[in-house]
Amino acid sequence: MSSLADTAIVPAPRRPTMPTILILAAKEIREGFRNRWVVATTLLLAALALTLALLGSAPTGTVGASRLDVVTVSLASLTIFLVPLIALLLSHDAIAGEAERGTLLLLLAYPVGRTAVILGKFLGQLAILAFATVLGYGAAALAVGWNLGLAAWGAFAAMVGASILLGGVFLALGLLASTLVRQRSTAGGIAIGLWLLFVILYDMAFLGLLVATGGHSLPPALVDTLLALNPTDAYRLLTLGMAGTGGLTGIGALAGHTALTPPILVAVLLAWTAAPLALAALVFSRREL
């Protein structure tokens, strides 16, 4: 080796062969597969979806609704409860867990931007969630039969896409919780709280409000705003109000009166994803270790 300090330490210009965000996302996916998160989630979704599909599709043969449409509606209801929970379980650990295990300090000592860490983890977890949803729900749909008509498949695909969008919202919320606190357990508590708030409590309060006011004195704009303020309601309107499946659900009637068109609802879900992510990136980049 050279004893000449000047020649030995000339820094060779090095560039990462792939963007940092993708490197981080790939690691997240690899870890997800390795620690059985992906397998467990996929199996859980597939098992529940198959149960719903097989139970739900039995009596509809004579009703006239497409059997796949029934599956789509059942799975959408399942998604509202399950996908946010899975997403929060997956993401609440992202930053707080790494900080607690001591791997965060080393990661940030690398030439890695804080925003890239947040986005990389989000992308990786979104890929895991998308994989589990597509596979789990797809298995259920195929179990019902594949020759079910293009329109029904289209509605099913839209529901799966919307489910992944909803998952993205709660991944972002979980990541924000994970960034705001120092301890994993605290982040987990916040995650459960978020789930209760958006999936259970908000709708109970909303229903209570509707009942109390007789459902008529509320201006439609207020109803729309209240629905858009909860991502699970936006998802509900988006999937259960869709053509073909709308007639099967109570919310289909509500969807008929709302000004919240599917593009607006998708925008609402995207905003619900982008805002927590941006806030998480901001908080994280100011954080000192």
Binding site: A8, P16, T17, I23, K27, T103, P111, E288, L289
Partner: protein
């Protein structure tokens, strides 16, 4: 000639009312091995975090390779290797997957991985999950990631914990080689004895402040700690000069402590009569003794 790679100028870091680092001035140079010594909570890790740009000083200025690491950290950290204290990895991933991940982040070609594993003696274990590694193997993997891409600044926090003596020697050989190539190596440690002869400079910190900085010889000269001399007298030896405060040990040896300046005259005296002494041991103050001395001086 000497290039300053890392510098702290009057740096203070407060966490609430507690000052983790107080008015610290420090300059590290290319090709230098520096031991940063202090017990737990002395502010070593906080200093390192500021050098890496992961924490911002409350007062003062930190410079890494000529830039502010808190501002230009993204580019500067490419030239830095860091081994955190008690390094940990995802246990389900293999050694190769993990080191490959860090190599990608630094833009180091994956073709260098084999060499990196060989350098720390992990060849053959690359394909195993880290969960099956011993503590020493994890520490070696930590070292391998720090060495990736031949960084100009190596910051190693408690680098030899969990390494057996043979591996420690190999580790210090790697450190010396990197320093000879012009890298700055900072070894934060409280395992002082093993740093003897390994570090060009020793910086002692206590409660966030620097209390000593210099080569081991410098520090010895400042501390003027006594040298311990032990002799095994021959059978007919009448006993050495009473003035020197000799103590008789249970095994029949005699022991005395002398000022550094009195060492050679005493030895000359003892060796003047070739039949008087059958064995002789001179023990210089160790880094531990020096450390204890500077801590006491600080407390006084």
């Amino acid at each position: 000639m000497t290039t300053t790679t890392v510098a702290l100028h009057g740096v203070t870091k407060r966490y609430g009312p507690i000052a983790a680092v107080r008015e610290l001035d420090l300059a590290l140079h290319a090709g230098e091995v520096i031991a940063l010594v202090g017990h737990n909570g002395a502010g070593k890790t906080t200093q390192i975090k500021m050098m890496l740009g992961l924490a911002r000083p409350t007062e003062g200025r930190v410079e890494l390779l000529g830039g502010d690491p808190a501002v230009h950290g993204l580019a500067l950290r490419r030239e830095v290797g860091y081994l955190p204290e008690s390094v940990s990895f995802h246990l389900a991933l293999t050694g190769r997957e993990t080191l490959g991940f860090y190599a990608r982040l630094k833009g180091v070609p994956l073709s260098e991985l084999d060499q990196a594993f060989a350098a720390v003696g992990l060849t053959g274990a690359e394909g195993r999950a880290i969960g099956t590694y011993s503590k020493g193997m994890r520490q070696r993997l930590g070292l391998a990631q720090a060495l990736l891409g031949r960084p100009r600044v190596l910051i190693l926090d408690e680098p030899t914990s969990g390494l057996d003596p043979a591996l420690r020697r190999e580790f210090y050989a790697i450190v010396a080689a990197r320093a000879a190539e012009g890298a700055t190596v900072l070894l934060a440690s409280h395992a002082l004895t093993e740093l003897e002869g390994r570090a060009d400079r020793v910086v002692i910190v206590n409660r966030g402040a620097k209390i000593a900085d210099g080569t081991l010889a410098d520090l010895r000269a400042i501390a003027r700690l006594p040298v311990q001399i032990r002799i095994r007298p021959a059978a007919g030896f009448a006993g050495p000069m009473s003035s020197s405060g000799w103590q008789r040990l249970p095994d029949g040896s005699l022991e005395a402590e002398v000022e550094p300046a009195g060492k050679l005259p005493l030895l000359a005296q003892l060796l003047a009569d070739p039949g008087a002494v059958t064995d002789l041991t001179v023990t210089e103050p160790t880094l531990d003794d020096l450390y204890a001395h500077f801590l006491q001086r600080e407390a006084a």
